[in-house]
């Protein structure tokens, strides 16, 4: 009789353990949870340092850059204006080691960016395009002979696209970029020296 009484009590208590909620309440909870996952910072002022690899006609190299962006509030701060700067070293060996070419490039551009902030996506696309200048220093070293240096500042432009996701107080951004800045030096002669890059960075919110 005692055992039967215990089992009856357990069955009677089961509904209270299940915490029955109404459909409306469940929907509200789900919406609240989803909002927490897509609360994009949408900073007014942000900086995004980046590091990546660049490829092209001067082989594979690395690049380091940063973007300072200002989003004035248009289109829910999806649109921003930015100053973008990057540095990239690259080198090339001539046939039979007859020469070695080393190129340092600093590119700076005024850019427009658009981040596709969405209330329902944890991963958003972003796009950018910019115009500016590219400053290059190309040193061609001839072993035993000497070094011929060429320097230039030429117009440059770029377009990029990438994906961003929340991480901490900022966002992690992965970007593909194509840059066009044909060189006017004799040694590079129209080359944009490894103009394609894949980079990753973190956007810090400053304001």
């Amino acid at each position: 009789v005692k055992r039967l009484a215990v089992v009856a009590l357990l069955f009677a208590a089961a509904p209270s353990f299940a915490q029955t909620r109404s459909p409306e309440e469940l929907a509200r909870i789900r919406a609240a949870n989803r909002y927490e996952g897509i609360a994009w910072p949408r900073p007014t002022l942000s900086i995004a340092p980046r590091i990546g690899i660049a490829v092209g006609d001067m082989g594979v190299t690395y690049s380091v850059g940063a973007e300072l962006a200002y989003a004035p509030g248009m289109l829910d701060k999806r649109l921003a204006f930015a100053i973008d700067a990057a540095w990239k070293p690259s080198s090339l060996d001539g046939q039979f080691s007859s020469y070695q070419l080393k190129v340092d490039e600093i590119a700076a551009a005024a850019a427009v960016t658009w981040h596709g902030y969405s209330g329902s996506a944890a991963l958003i696309p972003f796009f950018a395009a910019g115009l500016g200048v590219s400053a290059r220093s190309a040193a061609t070293d001839f072993p035993g002979v000497g070094t011929r240096n060429e320097k230039e500042v030429v117009p440059a432009g770029f377009v990029s696209a990438g994906l961003a996701f929340r991480a901490g107080s900022g966002t992690v951004e992965v970007e593909l970029r194509a840059r066009y800045s044909p060189s006017q030096t004799v040694v590079l002669d129209g080359s944009s020296n490894s103009p394609f890059s894949l980079s990753a960075g973190y956007r810090f919110s400053l304001l």
């Binding site: 006609d57 090339l92 020469y99 115009l131 001839f142 002979v145 011929r148 004799v186």
Partner: protein, 242 residues
């Protein structure tokens, strides 16, 4: 600021700067494989036709090019379009300038003070005369052409015309030849197996040759005049005794 003005300013911002090298020439040196930089006596003499040959398996005897070293400063090559197919390696432009202009081929810069000069023989003899050696670096902005005047003399093979119609070799004979050019270092031989004949250069257009008795047993004596450049010519003199 209107976009068109901004773009114009960007284009105006384009500028380039390149290191410039100014060549000078001070001397010529032999291409002896040693960096001794011992100057050659100028003008450096070379034959207008091939003087030496190298026998190759595929093509038989091929004329050896004329090669020497130019001593100076500021010699600098250039690479163009390096990102396409290894680029184009441009050596300084080296040439002989005189009665004709001959562009050297494959000039190699050993260091800023030495560059090789190589001139290949073609189907036609080179034009005889005195030449300047010139060097200009390849960049278009480097407009200075260095020149060393009267540096090379291209000469024909020595022309030898005997002053006698025949020679008698019962006893030693002395024969005067006219023509030339006859310069110190001239060698005259009666055959490859015999030693050089005694010669005396009287003038650039006259040489006296002592021919020993029995230098030849045939009906004619063939003498070869060999210039120091390797230029050579042969002359045949009938052998007869009165």
């Amino acid at each position: 600021m209107r976009p068109s003005i901004a773009i114009l300013l960007l284009l105006l911002a384009a500028c380039t700067q390149v290191d410039s090298f100014t060549p000078t020439i001070t001397a010529l040196a032999a291409n002896n494989g040693v960096n001794d930089r011992t100057p050659l006596a100028l003008p450096f003499r070379m034959c207008d036709v091939p003087a030496h040959f190298t026998v190759t398996d595929s093509f038989g005897p091929l004329p050896d090019p004329v090669v020497f070293i130019i001593i100076g400063s500021g010699f600098m090559p250039q690479v163009a379009n390096a990102t396409e197919s290894g680029g184009t390696y441009r050596s300084p432009l080296v040439a002989l300038e005189g009665p004709a202009t001959y562009q050297a081929v494959g000039s190699g810069v050993f260091d800023p003070e030495r560059i090789s000069f190589r001139l290949d023989y073609g189907d036609q003899p080179f034009a005889d005369g005195l030449y300047a050696v010139s060097v200009r670096n390849p960049d278009e902005s480097e407009t200075v052409t260095a020149r060393l005047a009267n540096a090379v003399q291209i000469v024909p093979p020595p022309r030898a015309v005997p002053s006698v119609a025949s020679v008698c070799l019962i006893s030693p004979a002395t024969v005067v030849f006219r023509g030339g050019p006859f310069v110190p270092g001239l060698r005259v031989t009666a055959s490859a197996s015999q030693p050089d004949l005694e010669t005396s250069i009287d003038a650039v257009d006259q040489v006296t040759v002592d021919i020993p008795s029995g230098a030849n047993t045939g009906p004619s004596l063939v003498l070869t005049f060999l210039d120091p450049t390797g230029c050579k010519s042969s002359v045949s003199i009938p052998v007869s005794c009165p």
